[in-house]
């Protein structure tokens, strides 16, 4: 099947198998290996991307269902060498260790920041229900989410 979508701001069209998952499409067909696959039961959240601005587990979605949408992956966040405020916050708060859960965490955290008017630690912890990290014990991820949310707010206010 032929699909067309906007990927990280660019128009992409491709021929895909109907059964191809969005995660497989990104990783295998387009070589965007920043999106990770950590499970086969939709539990870990390593594969989270944004579809029309909403975070989605790309292992639970068919590539064909993404036709006509705008998909953003971890590779699409930074502007050249300038990190997205959430990426920057993860760096500053040491919110990553092995980096495997990180793409999903960052994508998920951005939606948290965008949709949570008054972010708190408790809300951040609850938000991460669908993302597993084995390395960090989550504490610095939570700190990153809150710092990133504040940064995003001030960037917006400044813009």
């Amino acid at each position: 099947m032929q699909i067309a979508l906007t990927l990280n701001g660019k128009e992409v069209s491709a021929e895909v198998r109907p059964s191809l998952l969005l995660s497989e499409f990104l990783r295998e067909q387009l070589g965007l290996t920043g999106t990770h696959v950590g499970c086969d039961t939709s539990q870990c959240g390593a594969c989270v991307v944004h579809v029309d601005g909403v975070s989605m587990k790309s292992c639970t979605m068919l590539a064909v269902s993404a036709a006509g949408t705008a998909v953003t992956t971890i590779e699409g966040l930074a502007q050249g060498d300038v990190l997205h405020p959430m990426q920057q916050a993860f760096h500053e708060c040491h919110g990553l260790q092995c980096g495997f859960c990180t793409p999903g965490m960052v994508m998920s955290a951005i939606e948290f920041a965008e949709t949570t008017p008054e972010p708190t630690e408790e809300k951040a912890r609850a938000w991460l229900e669908g993302n597993i990290c084995r390395c960090t014990g989550y504490q610095n991820i939570i700190d990153s989410m809150l710092a990133g949310a504040a940064k995003m707010k001030s960037t917006q206010a400044g813009a």
């Binding site: 290996t33 086969d40 039961t41 539990q43 990426q87 260790q97 495997f100 597993i132 084995r134 014990g137």
Partner: protein, 795 residues
């Protein structure tokens, strides 16, 4: 500190950028030209004879390139997967070490054991063929639980391993311990199970084998914590590939926790298969497959007794443990419940005599091996639960009984009755600091406040020690290690003064690309952005023993400092020549070689340039170039330790245990980067809390089927399961290495299960509860509360 990016600075990590922008390079991300995809057909039975595998029937399927089985391994003379430790049991009896073929030969011994390998052009095609492959099994009864497997009527896994007994090992002095018990005023005892775990690093394992028919060279890319060890084990003992023809690369690896430090059959299989089909072979483990093929952990059944005098002083400790080895011996498997367990049973206490017996048993389950902490969380759990029980029985406060028995700071170096000599530590200092930080004294008020809400609140304490920095080779050799346990490092100073560092350690989250650069920065006065750490590729790095057992810094970091010393020594010689001074007058500091007491100096970069452009250089006495290598073999283990305190709130209606506070004060030796150390401790605690409250690997007792085979059945700790942790350090420097470092990778996991369970038992103490096995799941806790209440009502 002598450098703005040196030791002790909370630098943000150099490696973050690639991970934050999706530019990491994990094995699953790689594609090689002409590569085929491999899928393994795994046994659905825990124990069965293989009567036939109909490989011919799938060979004609779309895209199928080859199907290989255990028989092909035998035909090619491929060896079994070797074990890295040989444990000698009581009476000098060597452990039983049955063959471990990379794919089953004639018999399968655990559900998930690979029986065939299907390779096809695409993953889809390989999966389809694997599914279609018919394997004819003759199922046998399975030996599943570790106690059942020891029974005389239990099914036998191997013809020549009677009673499924791998070894019967002991340590300590039995007679002296019996004598101590004979004169005890009080004896406390416990029976416990240390629950089996599945480590679950977030990146599933993966491997790519590539054989180059033109050169005869092999390359294996693998998700490994120690590529050099895999190269040695696989090349030399399994595939018979000369070491100079084999390269092993472990690129970015998504978490290890021990479970990626072993040599796995799949690594051998992709490498071997690539030479047979003369194309690269890639395998990526699926999560559910990982549950059935990654080594598991813990799984002990233990009884223990503590003898005390009338003042609560420990007189002796007796421990009997049965440990599950699974169906085959994994790389470090037999070492975990013996040396890394029995030798730590003194804890931080002055207990004068100890006797520990461990029986290791084969079962029809996955191999059991090291997982973060490896043996030491098990030892800490036994000891610290027992100490709490003794305190309660004797009416001594939990902190007080520990204080009465803790090894005083002045008593170090301290020889324990179980081989280890602790070099340094201050457990009482850690304890005091933790009690203060956790507001131990104010607990009664918090308990009352919880009670007012209908909740049962408990507080738990644990003081622990561990041994890491594996290991002094000579001692390790006596204990059964079949390899040396030094580490290597090389520092290559480029003509510009920029530096490449080569280390045999591997980072898969620990942050070595930053912290190791900080060590070099401190020593040579060069900022970290001019220093790169190269690791994980046997073609680049001279040699290495890898990363596990918190050994990277304590062994690999010290090797690095040793190489740095050699750089400085050579730099001084060059500077003496250029400055026309005597070598003994040259001082190095702040990135400069200076003639003492003068302003005549050469910068580090000038010396580097002179070393490569030797126009003004003592060529008669010294070679040009500035590159040095060092191997460091530690003189002792390092002994991090600390005091942890947890508070839980239990809802008696639901049995849900809520961990509401956690405080850790750890002595990890010199801290290179406090940010990274805190992160390691957070992560370690989360894993220990996981064992205490959530995680449990469950097999069906009869069939040997894994019941907890996915993240839906195996409960991983999530963000909202954990409180904000308070972590702090209380440092005593390691007395026997140049950096004073001990290691911090495992402390969180070692202290936390006992701490949390002491809190859970404390919350239930009024019901007469003295012990709760892990995990303290709502189901288990509800039942305990319910039974206790019914029993009380009946009285």
């Amino acid at each position: 500190m002598s450098s703005a990016t040196g030791i002790g600075v909370p630098l943000r990590r150099k490696e973050d950028k690639r991970f934050l922008t999706g530019r990491g390079n994990y094995v699953a991300d790689m594609k090689l030209a002409g590569m085929v995809q491999a899928v393994f057909v795994r046994s659905p039975h825990a124990h069965a004879l293989i009567k036939g595998i109909d490989t011919a029937s799938v060979m004609g399927m779309d895209g199928v390139v080859a199907v290989l089985t255990g028989e092909d391994l035998a035909t090619d003379g491929v060896g079994g997967i070797p074990c890295g430790w040989g444990i000698t049991g009581k009476g000098g009896v060597a452990m039983k070490e049955p063959p471990h073929p990379a794919m089953a030969q004639g018999k399968v011994r655990h559900a998930g054991e690979a029986v065939a390998m299907v390779m096809a052009e695409t993953l889809e095609q390989a999966r389809e063929a694997a599914e279609a492959l018919v394997v004819d099994y003759d199922p046998l009864p399975a030996a599943v639980g570790v106690l059942d497997a020891m029974h005389s009527s239990a099914p036998q896994l191997f013809d020549d391993v009677p009673g499924n007994l791998c070894y019967d090992w002991d340590v300590g002095n039995e007679r002296a311990t019996d004598a101590a018990f004979a004169k005890a005023a009080h004896i406390s005892s416990i029976s416990l199970v240390n629950n089996r775990l599945i480590p679950n690093a977030m990146e599933p394992r993966a491997a790519i084998g590539e054989f180059n028919p033109g050169t005869g060279d092999y390359t294996l890319w693998t998700t490994s914590q120690n590529p050099h060890v895999i190269k040695l084990l696989m090349g030399n003992f399994v595939l018979n590939i000369p070491q100079h023809k084999l390269r092993v690369v472990a690129p970015d690896v998504g978490g290890g926790f021990g479970v990626k430090s072993f040599h796995y059959p799949e690594e051998t299989l992709v490498t071997w298969a690539s030479s047979k089909i003369r194309r690269p072979v890639k395998w990526v483990c699926e999560r559910s497959e990982g549950f059935l093929s990654d080594a598991h952990a813990r799984d002990h059944v233990t009884t223990a007794e503590l003898a005390l005098d009338e003042d609560g002083k420990f007189l002796g400790l007796r421990v009997k443990t049965v440990a599950n080895m699974g169906a085959y011996l994994s790389t470090f498997g037999p070492n975990i419940p013996s040396n890394l367990y029995g030798l730590l049973l003194a804890g931080v206490y002055t207990t004068p005599v100890i006797y520990c017996e461990v029986k290791a048993v084969f079962t029809n389950t996955l191999p059991v091996d090291a997982y973060r902490g490896a043996g030491r969380p098990e030892a800490t759990f036994v000891l610290e639960r027992l100490v709490d029980i003794a305190a309660t029985e004797m009416g001594i406060a939990k902190d007080e009984i520990r204080r009465r028995n803790i090894i005083p700071k002045e008593a170090y170096p301290y020889q324990t009755p179980v081989i280890m000599e602790y070099d340094s530590g201050d457990p009482a200092g850690c304890l005091d600091k933790a009690l203060e930080a956790a507001d131990w004294a104010g607990f009664a008020d918090r308990k009352a406040a919880s009670a007012a809400e209908g909740k049962l609140r408990g507080i738990g304490l644990c003081t622990y020690i561990e041994a890491c920095g594996l290991a002094p080779s000579r001692i390790a050799g006596r204990l059964g290690a079949r390899a040396g346990l030094y580490e290597s490092a090389a520092i290559r100073v480029h003509p510009t003064g920029d530096i490449s560092v080569f280390t045999g350690s591997h980072t898969h989250g620990q942050g070595h690309e930053t912290t190791f650069a900080q060590i070099v920065s401190e020593q040579l006065g060069v900022p970290v952005d001019k220093i790169d750490i190269v690791h994980g590729d046997t073609a680049k790095v001279q040699f290495g023993m890898g990363t596990y057992a918190s050994r990277s810094l304590a062994v690999g970091g010290v090797a690095l400092a040793k190489a740095g010393d050699k750089i400085i020594a050579k730099g001084k010689k060059i500077a003496a020549h250029m400055l026309e001074a005597s070598e003994s007058d040259i001082e190095f500091g702040g990135g400069e070689f200076r003639v003492a007491g003068t302003d005549r100096a050469k910068s580090f970069a000038e010396i580097a340039l002179a070393a490569y452009v030797p126009h003004d250089y003592p060529l008669e006495v010294m070679e040009p170039g500035l590159e040095e290598q060092a191997f460091y073999d530690p003189v002792n283990f390092t002994f991090p330790g600390g005091a942890h305190i947890a508070e839980v709130e239990i809802d008696p209606e639901t049995g849900v245990v809520d961990l509401v506070a956690y405080t850790a004060v750890d002595d990890v030796g010199t801290v290179i980067n406090p940010l990274v150390v805190d992160g390691q401790i957070h992560g370690g605690i989360a894993q220990g809390v996981g064992q205490a409250l959530f995680e449990n690997c469950v097999y069906d007792d009869e069939s040997g089927q894994l019941l907890s085979g996915s993240f839906m059945d195996y409960c991983m700790p999530r963000a909202d399961d954990l409180p904000r942790m308070t972590v702090a350090t209380h440092i005593t420097a390691c007395a026997h290495n140049a950096l004073g470092v001990k290691g911090c990778g495992e402390v969180g996991t070692i202290g936390s299960p006992a701490t949390v369970m002491n809190a859970v038992v404390d919350a239930l103490a009024h019901l007469g509860v003295t012990h709760v096995d892990m995990p303290a799941s709502p189901n288990r806790i509800w039942r305990i509360i319910h039974n206790a209440q019914s029993a009380m009502a009946a009285e």
